[in-house]
Symmetry: C2
Subunit: 187 residues, 2 copies
């Protein structure tokens, strides 16, 4: 799946304007550790990951929680911030060297206004994002760390292959020490 496949799937009506849309994306290379968006800032860019990996996270005094990982051929942004022009509750960081395609909010808004027929697709996409967030939080609330780890092994093994364990721990909402204990316990 490449960028065109992604858009064809997520935004069929928008895809009709692909030539225009395509020209709005600009390429960008960043090194591991680059922050694309800080918590509290309003998102002004949307990214498509050509190669590399990013994480959406939320930090407090005590913890650093990863909400989601993003890899090749995925769109990533703090969508609710990008869409609503609200300060983001999440930070967005590349944890591998990455190649990105970037779409500015200005171009995005221009597309929305120019092609109003895509509006429902965008609304639907944002609503689905919110539902996704809700499900992520439900998992955190209703499952134990062990259960969450087992789910990860079952359903998202690619994350374990690719993401350093201390970030996996933050994804599970526990410390790296605790994750290590869980892994030995389950051996």
């Amino acid at each position: 799946m490449d960028l065109t496949d992604y858009f064809a799937q997520q935004f069929p009506a928008l895809m009709a304007h692909w030539p225009t849309l395509k020209s709005k994306f600009t390429a960008k290379k960043v090194s591991a550790g680059t922050t694309l968006l800080s918590e509290g800032d309003v998102a002004t860019h949307l990214y498509f990951i050509i190669s590399g990996a990013a994480r959406l996270s939320h930090s407090s005094a005590e913890r650093d929680i990863t909400l989601q990982f993003f890899f090749e051929n995925q769109i990533v942004a703090s969508f609710e911030s990008f869409y609503l022009d609200q300060p983001s509750g999440f930070a967005l960081t590349c944890f591998e060297d990455s190649e990105l395609l970037v779409l500015t909010k200005t171009d995005f808004d221009w597309l929305r206004q120019t092609y109003p027929e895509v509006e429902p697709e965008i609304t639907r996409f944002v609503c689905e994002r919110f539902i996704t967030y809700r499900n992520i939080f439900f998992n955190q609330l209703e499952q134990s760390p062990v259960e969450r780890y087992q789910n990860l092994v079952e359903n998202e093994p690619e994350i374990l292959d690719r993401v350093p364990l201390h970030l996996v721990a933050s994804y599970l909402g526990i410390t790296p020490v605790s994750l290590s204990r869980i892994r030995t316990r389950l051996k």
Copy 2:
């Protein structure tokens, strides 16, 4: 604040059609313990609380979590289910004898279609609900039970006055036993 004040505040454009809107509401009395919406069902009604109290909750095998309490002069529903026609992730239950005004989804949709100028207000309202949920979940994730209890005492003392402690515990994401210990510790 009564129902008209509430609508004037939340939906000024909708309020212009108040006489029509008013006639769509029907009164309903329910006794404590009545479930207005079960988890997994699609919300077909919106409620305005004249008197009494309700809670929005999510149950799993292990826990029963209260996300929010609602009292007099508040609109309550599983908004994301009502708006998106999706199965609700939450149950809605009255935990006191309550008098309600009820608006059906059918009438709600009729209002939306008849007065399209209110659509942005509704979208905004739903987005704000999502942001509210996000903040509730953030609190659960980043604060300790003791901190959450202290926040409650500080910012929502009316809940402690009115809600039985075992429900307060479910609101804090802990067991009644643990809440009781926290309270004695803080004395």
